[in-house]
Symmetry: C2
Subunit: 219 residues, 2 copies
């Protein structure tokens, strides 16, 4: 089974720009990628872990974990992944596991459980209608359509291709880091590189209100 | 096992007041309660289902599902629940399952899974540091502390009382309805009374943006 992690460091996480500088957002994105790769690796379910990096200029200055292959493809997310699926299909490769790089709460437990579900397509929703994990048994019978309410689009695409579907229900997998409020979840539930990085910037949790404490931020 | 559902209809869901009128928010709160009661009932895990209603004036005008006992207690949430736990403990009643009334995505599947976990305390986190389900095996060794980051408070209280803890990881359970963005999740993933009620107000989903479509709202 192959794990594919799309990753974008350039202009990463722009909706966090009120509280993190551009450099901090790039470092934070990389720390989250490290957490996702670690969880994928610890699951022991994959022969290959491939990071698809969409920015060559950023990638040249970045140290990626050596466990992952780094593919440099400067195209949009859907085009890149659909070309990847088409190539896998023509090479008779099955079982492509696409996991987003910005969900640092995921652990090997959820990844193992997703890979063990029987559906042709397993979808783990992200908040706001997103798709945070897609496990695709038959790459020749599926294509991705991220952006908008991709969760509903992926259900529709699977149904149209007569692929059986399992939906994986997980708070940890659904929680991606887009908005400042998402950082609250990371500070409460996180244990890896990303939460450590976030704390190093001075961002902390105000436990009395459940909101971010930005009083010590060094932006 | 007893299920306890705290419910507040008066001034319910004030953070939705930009898009729902006071009457609509009360009706929406009741529709969510119906969904939660239905899921609890279908799990077939409970001898008693008790709704603790904190507003007598509202309750008199409300038709509750006949399956549930309605207790009228006009006190704060923590005080009410801690008195309930103390009474259960003095009556040697074990296994109190506290579930919030504003999480209409929950189904019997999650409730069954929570009740089958072995921990003395099982906690299902809500978004933003909340606690959406608390399953308490020994009511004499626990007290609740909602508000703020109650998830962390409940972990601490359980640890201090040497109670073993399981954390139940579910997107459907974690999603409560506080903010307009939460309604997006209900429109995408919901199947019960609450989503039906929401659609009847004219609120719908804009699938191209993943945001609420309020163009047909009749407030």
């Amino acid at each position: 089974m192959r794990a594919v992690i799309p990753f974008k460091q350039e202009n990463a996480k722009s909706r966090l720009s009120d509280i993190l500088s551009k450099t901090q957002r790039q470092e934070f994105a990389l720390a989250m990628l490290y957490d996702v790769i670690a969880a994928v690796e610890r699951s022991k379910k994959f022969d290959f872990i491939e990071v698809i990096n969409s920015s060559i200029s950023c990638a040249m200055n970045t140290t990626f974990p050596s466990i992952a292959n780094i593919l440099l493809i400067e195209k949009g997310l859907n085009e890149t992944l659909n070309e990847y699926l088409a190539k896998a299909a023509s090479n008779k490769v099955q079982d492509i596991f696409i996991i987003m790089a910005d969900m640092p709460l995921v652990t090997e437990k959820q990844i193992v459980e997703i890979t063990e579900l029987p559906g042709d397509i397993v979808i783990a929703p992200g908040s706001g209608g997103g798709t945070n994990v897609l496990s695709i048994h038959n790459p020749n019978k599926f294509h991705v359509d991220y952006y908008g309410t991709s969760f509903l689009d992926h259900l529709r695409i699977a149904n149209e291709a007569n692929q059986s579907i399992d939906i994986y229900d997980s708070f940890l997998v659904s929680t991606d880091m887009d908005e400042p409020d998402d950082l609250v979840e990371l500070l409460i539930h996180g244990h890896g590189h990303a939460v450590e990085y976030l704390r190093s910037t001075g961002i902390d949790l105000d436990t009395s209100t459940g909101r971010l404490d930005l009083s010590n931020v060094k932006k």
